[in-house]
Amino acid sequence: MAYPYRHERETRVLSEHFGDPEARTLEGWKKRGGYAALKTALGMAPNEVVDIVKNSGLRGRGGAGFPTGVKWSFMPKDDSRQSHYFLINADESEPGAFKDRELCRWTPHQLIEGAMIGAHAIRAKHVYIYIRGEFFEPAQIIGRAIEEVYAAGIAGPDAMGSGISIDVTLHLGAGAYICGEETALMNSLEGRRGQPRIKPPFPAVMGAFSKPTTINNVETVCAVPHIITNGADWYRQWGTEKSPGTKLFNMSGHLVRRGNFELPLGFPLKDLIYDVCGGIRDGRKLKAVIPGGSSVPILAADEIDIAMDYESVAAAGTMLGTASVIVMDDQTNMVKQVRRMVEFYAHESCGQCTPCREGTQWLARILRRIEDGYGRQEDLDQLLEIGTNMTGTTICVLSDSAAAPVASSIAKFKDEYLALIRRAEPAAAAV
């Protein structure tokens, strides 16, 4: 199909049917082997499904990389199925990430199938797909797919004739980045402000509507049907020992080819930028790379010789996150971009914890001051100190996320900050 992003080095498992409108219909999806995995899974005991996913080594694609099968095994083994919930996190709003939107747009049935398999595995009766309110078109496509599966008897009281009852509901958010955090999402689903909850109790004990709940990212869930159909070993043929499988890499910024590319985990970042994406736009030079969405520390141009799996990226001092790679060329005003990221966190802070509510505002103000040419000598130390006080002191990690790009950009691009500050204080520069 004429989907714009295709590269010969891609391994297309989840994204195989991107760009194919027929795959979005129930008929078309069945023709492509859809819902066979669900049928298989419904014939198994929940524990067997959990074991297969556990053996596959699938890790959560929402950023934290927690092993999915292990997460599922935390759920109470209560066969009454009365009171468990399975939530799908489609509240994709990390700056740089745009994989879930494409998965929802092009493969709604892949998502529903995976969600229903997951629901069976954790003995949940009800699946809520929480999609961000801005994703109107993906929401419509999923909504229509849900109507199709109900009409075909795939979802409902007797899912595929198995006697198992699984309901699927689509829930739209209303514009809040923090609702992508799992407990904030649960609060939002319950009709509250999307503020993260203190853990413990963990969701598997007390989640949505105070019932045991498991929550997974869209991409994680989309991988499940393939694992059930082809087995855990098949999935392990890609990636590394600890990070098996394929991953959608969301490439944005100053690249020749932007878009989603599905590649095995552990793919070299250098090849990703220079081969798959065709290098830097307009023949420019690379300046910096953010490897996992705006919440992770920035890498300088000479640090990109790493493999894109959870462990290797962590070893380089940053995080794989959602594998949302933002590439910046040598013309980039680093201070401006960091200020823009921090302003985002200041806007999206839920306001519960003081270090975050106050810290994000001060970071944004000081960065704006430096950018505008009114920076002071002590500003960099002040930024770092605020950042330190914001890290590890709050309920969720939004605060840490805001501090990470500031600290890493000051460490790696200090000259740029100093140049702006010196211009503001010519007397100080002479000292």
């Binding site: 004429a2 989907y3 714009p4 991107f18 760009g19 409108p21 219909t25 008929e27 994709e92 700056p95 990430a97 745009f98 939107r101 747009r105 961000r132 801005e134 109107f136 078109e137 929401a139 419509q140 496509i141 909504g143 229509r144 849900i146 109507e147 109900y150 009409a151 409902g156 009281p157 309901d167 699927v168 509901t169 689509l170 829930h171 739209l172 958010g173 209303a174 514009g175 939002s188 319950e190 009709g191 509250r192 402000r193 999307g194 509507f209 969301n250 490439m251 944005s252 910024g253 932007r258 878009g259 989603n260 705006s294 949302s324 933002i326 910046m328 823009r340 990221m341 985002f344 806007h347």
Partner: protein, 288 residues
């Protein structure tokens, strides 16, 4: 059809009226036939009746949750184990009817769910998608977050403000546009991403901004008219990517006045047969 849409603005990534909304008339949306049919007998409905439509035909004084909207509200409520779960979708519904959510609408929603108005206000003001005050017919949200910003998001934002002749957050003099900066819209690979009401426009450059506004100005009077009751047969309504032009918009009995609540009558709902079957609805080919 995608080619046609592409050439309209000369923009290969133009998302335009993507997906499956384009063929629906206002009447389809207003009615409850399209949204959230209850699939198997007696079950909780699974699909959404709560899409946050941002319609041009809005009435800030309309009464909430009447006629088809009552039906939708009840469907939404049926899907949550606790009534409060329906709070966000009901606020969406209120916004769809009135165009924004004011204190009075929040109080009505509170009453509907047996919550205190203050609590609902606390929730509604937490979320950015609820417009606390009226906005123009087209709410233009330009992403200026990092991925779009690297590729000129700020410039596109400035161009929209200039072309619409307005300040950020204000309604333009003709009531057509409100332009605001948005946080990441989740389309970072297609900068600059712009959301206009429910539509995404992708890969927008400054040069295309006037053409987009021009297209919206053309659409505006068409979309503001209430759709006729007698809809065309399904095949004829597949004008994908185009706005449905009613043959006879001024049919007697169809005029909408402030005193007659346009949403109250269930008879405005088009027959279910008028909806094209799911499989052959127009779709957005890979122009994204």
């Amino acid at each position: 059809m995608s080619e046609q849409k592409t050439t309209v603005l000369g923009n290969p990534g133009f998302a335009g009226e993507t997906g499956d909304f384009s063929h629906l008339s206002e009447a389809d949306i207003r009615g409850s036939a399209y949204v959230g049919r209850r699939p198997p007998e007696g079950r909780e409905a699974g699909a959404a009746a709560s899409y946050p439509y941002q319609l041009l035909q809005k009435d800030p004084a309309a009464r909430l949750f009447e006629g088809p909207y009552r039906e939708r509200a009840e469907k939404i409520k049926s899907r949550y184990p606790e009534p409060q779960g329906a709070l966000l979708p009901l606020l969406n519904l209120a916004q769809e009817i009135r165009g924004h959510v004011d204190a009075e609408a929040m109080a009505t929603v509170a009453e509907e769910l047996d919550l205190s108005p203050t609590y609902v206000r606390g929730v509604a003001t937490f979320y950015t998608m609820y417009n606390k005050q009226p906005v123009g017919d087209f709410l233009i949200q330009v992403c200026t977050n990092v991925a779009c910003n690297l590729c000129g998001g700020d410039e596109v934002m400035a161009e929209f403000l200039k072309a619409a002749g307005t300040e950020s957050g204000e309604i333009s003099f003709d009531g057509a546009f409100t332009v605001i900066e948005a946080e990441c819209l989740g389309a970072c690979g297609f900068p600059t991403a712009v959301q206009i009401n429910e539509r995404y426009f992708e890969n927008v450059t400054t040069a295309e901004v006037p053409a987009i506004l021009e297209q919206l100005r053309t659409e505006r009077p068409i979309r503001r008219k209430p759709a006729p009751v007698d809809v065309k047969p399904p095949e004829a309504r597949h004008g994908a990517g185009k706005v449905e032009v009613p043959d006879d918009p001024g049919a007697p009995g169809e005029t909408v006045g402030p005193e007659s609540n346009p949403y109250a009558g269930g008879d405005r709902t088009p027959p279910a047969a008028a909806r094209p079957p799911a499989s052959d609805r127009p779709s957005s080919e890979g122009q994204g």
